[in-house]
């Protein structure tokens, strides 16, 4: 493994738990500990724990913090309140996406932005650049000082509760609490995730990361918690049809075509970057639409494979993500196609290594967890 790879504060922890380390966009991270399928099933049925310290954190503070975010983000952050977590894309003027992120509204009126690992420098520059138009706002990049772990799956709350006095059941979905002590370590806990399951994301000081990971693993008491890697992080989010920056979202593919229109607040009362281009796209029709595909013939569509019409003659678009899905036990994919070809039930073909393989447009999300029984 090359030495230049970036390591999270939990690198040694991954080795200790037997993780198979790979190069993930310049980061040395485990692809799996036991196997992707096993970890995937553990998350759906029990619980799984990830180091997601590769994710970046930007702290936006000051009297004009809200004004800045209202300008750079497409969603309406003014609806937030301390403890609320808001998901939002961040767009270029042309409507393409700089990044997508979680915004945690803090007690002091500031915001913690959780951003994608591959976009940390770009986002920092973008938001810091925009901050120049405001007087009283600071943008701090806390990515290096912050560790983050994610515990996901139906047994998550039970396991994490053993380590803290804070009543986790009071944290609603897409909410968070600052200064929660987990096994004595000061953390920020949000009830969010990237798997389609219930769970928590826990932010702490980089130096506490390994101890936090160990403490959560050791808090398992027959609950089936496993350490998990990047492999199932991707299959779980894919099965839940959550977009991944760089695949479903990028500088050429905006939030509307990706099915994220509900996170674009045209009516929020302030101009935001990308507003005009997105309005125009809304009025004149989507440039391309993200759809779900189920393979009807043998084969797995993969990122970059071309999509054609049923006859195989006309090229329509391309696959953004494709995989075998361990819970649904199907070969599924997401793809961008023209709106005219995006109707559910439409048959298309995917060029897999020179062979046109039949697929059908199906509903997304592919997987949705059952509502909790009261």
């Amino acid at each position: 493994m090359a030495n230049e790879l970036k390591k999270t504060p939990l690198y040694e922890t991954h080795l200790k738990y037997g993780g198979r380390i790979i190069d993930f966009a310049g980061w040395a991270l485990p692809v799996h500990f036991s196997s992707i399928k096993e970890e995937h099933h553990a998350c759906r049925k029990a619980a799984a724990l990830w180091d997601v310290s590769d994710m970046g954190e930007l702290l936006v503070e000051g009297p004009q913090a809200l004004d800045l975010l209202q300008m750079v983000l497409t969603n309406d952050i003014s609806k937030g309140y301390p403890g609320k977590v808001v998901y939002s894309p961040m767009c270029y003027p042309n409507g393409g996406v700089v990044d997508d992120m979680m915004v945690v509204c803090l007690k002091n009126g500031g915001y913690l932005l959780c951003i994608n690992a591959g976009n940390i420098d770009k986002d920092d520059e973008w938001i810091t650049g925009a901050a120049k138009y405001f007087q009283d706002v600071t943008v701090k990049n806390l990515s290096k000082e912050t560790a983050q772990v994610a515990i996901q799956g139906p047994n998550s709350a039970r396991i994490l509760q053993r380590l803290t006095e804070y009543p986790l059941s009071e944290i609603k979905y897409y909410h968070g609490v600052e200064d929660v002590y987990v096994d004595g370590m000061k953390t920020l806990v949000t009830r969010t995730g990237y798997t389609g399951e219930d769970g928590f994301e826990v932010y702490c000081d980089a130096k506490d990361g390994p101890a936090l990971f160990d403490a959560i693993m050791e808090a398992d008491d027959g609950d089936g918690l496993v350490p998990a890697g990047l492999g199932c992080r991707d299959t779980l989010r894919f099965e839940a049809s959550m977009p991944l920056y760089g695949q479903e979202l990028d500088e050429n593919h905006g939030p509307l075509g990706a099915g994220l229109g509900k996170f674009v607040a045209f009516g929020k009362g302030t101009h935001f970057v990308g507003n005009r281009a997105l309005m125009e796209e809304r009025e004149t029709g989507l440039r391309a639409k993200l759809i779900g595909l189920e393979m009807l013939e043998r084969g797995i569509a993969r990122t970059g494979h071309k999509v054609f019409d049923e006859s195989g003659a006309k090229e329509l678009g391309y696959i953004t993500t494709g995989s075998y899905t361990p819970t649904l036990e199907k070969n599924l994919a997401m793809a961008y196609v023209p709106v005219d070809y995006s109707q559910r039930g439409t048959k298309v073909t995917v060029d897999i290594r020179g062979k046109k393989v039949l697929a059908e447009i199906v509903k997304m999300p592919f997987y949705r967890r059952e509502a909790k029984k009261k």
Binding site: S35, I36, K37, G231, D234, S323, P326, N331, R353
Partner: protein
């Protein structure tokens, strides 16, 4: 890991096991371990002529797509149908039930160029890298 001595191996982690007139082709346990959960096997069609070094099958794990290079030249005479419905047999028993296809070898001299189990074991232990 140990590798059965009844067959020959390639640097690219395929094996060939000769039984009478036919030779069984598959991937090694080193290969399946590197790939992780195997979820799809694209086996060749019966009757296809394959040359040594040519891609004869494609194996996909959850995350990776991997081509398999034939250790020998010959005509495909049998395909392991089990790999279509239960590709995980390549993880569970790659050297046994998880063979991919069988060929009629055109030239047994090709076998001499392949590694025996001791050499392959060493190759795998050194990380299994190849050109």
């Amino acid at each position: 890991m140990t590798y059965p001595a009844d067959r020959k191996y390639t640097k690219t982690h395929e094996y060939v096991k000769v039984e009478g007139d036919v030779a069984y082709l598959g991937i090694t346990t080193f290969a399946q371990d590197q790939l992780g959960d195997i979820v799809f096997v694209e086996a060749p069609e019966v009757g296809r002529e394959i040359k040594a070094g040519e891609v004869f099958a494609t194996v996909e794990s959850v995350k990776a797509v991997s081509d398999c290079y034939s250790p020998v030249s010959g005509k495909v005479v049998k395909v392991n149908d089990q790999t279509a419905d239960t590709p995980e047999i390549l993880n569970e028993d790659p050297h046994g039930e998880g063979w991919i296809c069988a060929v009629e070898i055109s030239s047994t001299s090709e076998l001499d160029e392949l590694m025996d189990s001791a050499d392959y074991e060493k190759h795998a232990a050194e990380g299994g890298g190849h050109d």
